[in-house]
């Protein structure tokens, strides 16, 4: 068991740190959350900066440990988040790289890396959430096109995306996992309506996407017709243990700030609340170690896969506990939306729901790791 990094890894970290210190002060001001074109430009600009410096493909080609260091250092330095580049870099891109044709890879991968194009994800539907394979958006062939009708939900960046990785049902008679197809849909095609979805945090981070006989060229299909479920699952464990690296680093920073606020406003003197902060410190330290463990597993060629479920279960609850403790420290200020952490507390409520609810994650852990029987 070794927690030290190799000289090459340390060298990568040192050079990255130096570069970040140089480049971050020159960044334009962050756009306001509701300024979608501004956010698009900002996020793509950051990806372009990474590209020019040779860091663009760290998500694709680097070792898991290198990726861990990249995410840790960029978060520490306060660099921009992956933002609008998320789906392109971490899902659609890797899917195309793994399953696309030569021509498809040539068309779509470089613009993602260069920060030219934004992708969004059209997977979930109003009646297909945890049970994604229940999706009903239909596509039928008409000449060289698929014609697509249906609706998608929880799509971030739909307002400003160039492409949507879309799951559609192409065979309604087949067993449900075998009638799904993966398409790259151009977001400027006629028949697409994007409606912002206001969340309980008050902002519109997601959208609903309505599709009314949208034509998508057959050439935009990645993988075979009706093989879309497998195509999608190929890259599901792509992040190999690093999905939450930046977030854990950020949570540990928030926890430190929280302790200092507690010290200033006197809540620190209440031993119960002080020790709760101490327990959270233990929690996030452990989550960091679990990240390092999972990354080391990936480094050894093992796909963490379901191991990611163990992490996500623990982390999503820890994040909610962090902001509940923040509220306990803030007292009445926890009801003031203009105070720090109050919006974060609201956002944290999605963590036990998004990307597989805790209940679904527990089923996955119990059935796939512990080998318990599926319920009838």
């Amino acid at each position: 068991m070794d927690l030290s990094y190799t000289p090459e890894e340390e060298d990568f970290r040192a050079r990255l740190r130096e570069w970040l210190a140089k480049v971050l002060p020159g960044l334009p001001p962050k756009p306001r959350p509701e300024d979608w074109p501004g956010r698009r430009a900002y996020d793509l600009g950051w990806q372009r900066t990474l590209y020019d410096a040779g860091y663009a493909d760290v998500h694709w080609d680097a070792s898991p440990t290198t990726r861990l260091i990249f995410l840790e250092e960029t978060e520490r330095a306060g660099a921009p988040y992956v933002g609008a580049n998320f789906v392109g870099l971490l899902h659609a891109g890797p899917t195309i790289a793994a399953e696309g044709t030569e021509a498809q890879r040539a068309r779509w991968l470089a613009p993602i890396l260069r920060g030219d194009e934004v992708w969004c994800q059209g997977f979930s539907e109003p009646d297909a959430g945890s049970d994604l394979a229940a999706l009903r958006t239909r596509a039928w062939r008409d000449g060289d096109d698929y014609v697509v009708s249906g609706s998608k939900i929880w799509t971030s960046h739909a307002e400003v995306a160039d492409w949507c990785e879309l799951l559609v049902r192409t065979d309604a008679q087949a067993p449900r996992h075998r009638g799904i197809t993966w398409l790259a849909m151009p977001m400027d095609a006629p028949g697409i309506t994007v409606r912002p979805l206001r969340t309980l945090a008050g902002s519109a981070e997601f959208a609903e996407v309505f599709l009314d006989e949208v034509r998508v060229p057959v050439a935009n299909r990645v993988g075979a017709e009706n093989d879309g479920w497998r195509v999608t699952m190929v890259t599901l464990s792509f992040e190999r243990g690093t999905a939450f690296v930046g977030e854990v680093v950020a949570c540990r920073r928030v926890l430190g700030e929280l302790a200092r606020v507690a010290r200033e406003n006197g809540t620190w003197d209440d031993p119960e609340r002080r020790r709760r902060l101490g327990r959270l410190n233990a929690e996030f330290r452990a989550l960091w170690r679990l990240t390092q463990w999972n990354v080391s597993e990936a480094e050894g060629g093992r796909v963490p896969g379901v191991g990611g479920s163990v992490f996500k279960l623990r982390y999503s609850h820890a994040r909610q506990e962090l902001y509940d403790v923040a509220a306990a420290v803030l007292g009445p200020d926890a009801l003031d939306l203009d105070r720090p952490w109050v919006l974060d507390r609201l956002s944290s409520l999605s963590y036990t729901i998004a990307a597989g609810t805790s209940q679904i994650q527990r089923n996955i852990v119990a059935e796939r790791i512990l080998g318990l029987p599926k319920g009838r």
């Binding site: 070794d2 929690e283 512990l370």
Partner: protein, 290 residues
């Protein structure tokens, strides 16, 4: 960074698991729980010969010359098997008390106002004067209360190796719960097919694996704050794990015959070492202020 067991570490863990499986299996455990707590001196010497107590002593001094990570692995196995006896006290005394390293001398230790296995010990570290026997909640850990002021801060190595034993209990609790959930049939199906039971088992694993990462990392860094974190996670994983394991066992879990209660009771005893977890929580809180 290679935060995984090396082949040697895997072999060490397997060797200890094999020895304990052979010399202290489930039947031996239940037999021990049914009789007054006596130490199996022959087993103690076998553990000594296997290097359990001399593990961290330098080879020049007749030890095995290994470090904290390896000690954590063998203590985890001892915890998993619920091996009785003052393992920690004897291991910690290996350098000072003659015979301890080889398992010839049994050593007890005063810790947090309590002393485990005092009457069976040949030697004691700490001041045990005025010790009074307690009717111990754990049938496999005889206890004495020791009066007098609490000692200074807990020894980090003792805290870490206790966390390793707790990790073993957490792992075992998960295994036992899953075994039972797979085989116990009610309403025409294994109870593990019911989501309510499934989710208890999943949480057992999540707690054990999170604690494992914390305990192993603390063994590598040996930093007191990492050890404090490991302790909190491991105590929680063991105590809540054993309770949930008991719940999964239903009525059987409430019987003396089932071994589940023994895991819970031992986890309670270990959680009291070092005077409980307040010191660790306080240390971790203060560390946040940087």
């Amino acid at each position: 960074m290679r935060f995984r067991l090396t082949r040697d570490q895997e072999a060490l863990r397997e060797g200890m698991r094999e020895l304990l499986g052979r010399r202290f299996d489930g039947a031996a455990l239940r037999a021990a729980a049914g009789a007054p707590a006596r130490l199996d001196r022959r087993l103690w010497r076998e553990l000594g010969a296997a290097g359990f107590f001399a593990l961290r002593l330098p080879e020049a001094d007749g030890g095995v010359g290994l470090g904290l990570p390896e000690a954590v692995l063998v203590f985890e196995e001892a915890g998993r098997a619920l091996l009785p006896g003052p393992l920690l006290a004897t291991h910690l005394a290996a350098a000072e008390v003659p015979g301890a390293a080889m398992g010839e001398t049994v050593v007890a230790r005063v810790d947090g106002g309590l002393a485990e296995w005092l009457a069976e010990a040949d030697a004691v570290t700490g001041d045990a004067s005025g010790a009074l026997p307690v009717r111990s909640v754990d049938p496999l850990t005889p206890l004495h209360r020791v009066p007098g002021p609490a000692a200074g801060p807990a020894d980090p190595v003792a805290v870490l190796l206790t966390a390793a034993e707790q990790l073993g209990t957490a792992t075992r609790a998960c295994e036992l719960a899953v075994q039972h959930a797979r085989t116990r049939v009610q309403f025409g199906q294994p109870i593990g097919a019911f989501q309510a039971v499934k989710h208890l088992c999943a949480e057992l694993l999540v707690r054990a694996e999170t604690a494992r990462a914390a305990v192993y990392a603390a063994a590598v860094t040996a930093a007191p704050v990492d050890i404090a974190a490991a302790r909190l996670l491991a105590d929680e994983a063991a105590v809540r794990g054993a309770r949930d394991c008991l719940q999964v066992h239903g009525g059987m879990g409430f019987t003396w015959e089932s071994e589940v209660h023994l895991h819970l009771k031992r986890a309670w005893v270990r959680a009291q070492r070092g005077g409980g977890n307040t010191e660790s929580e306080e240390m971790l809180a203060v560390e946040l202020l940087g």
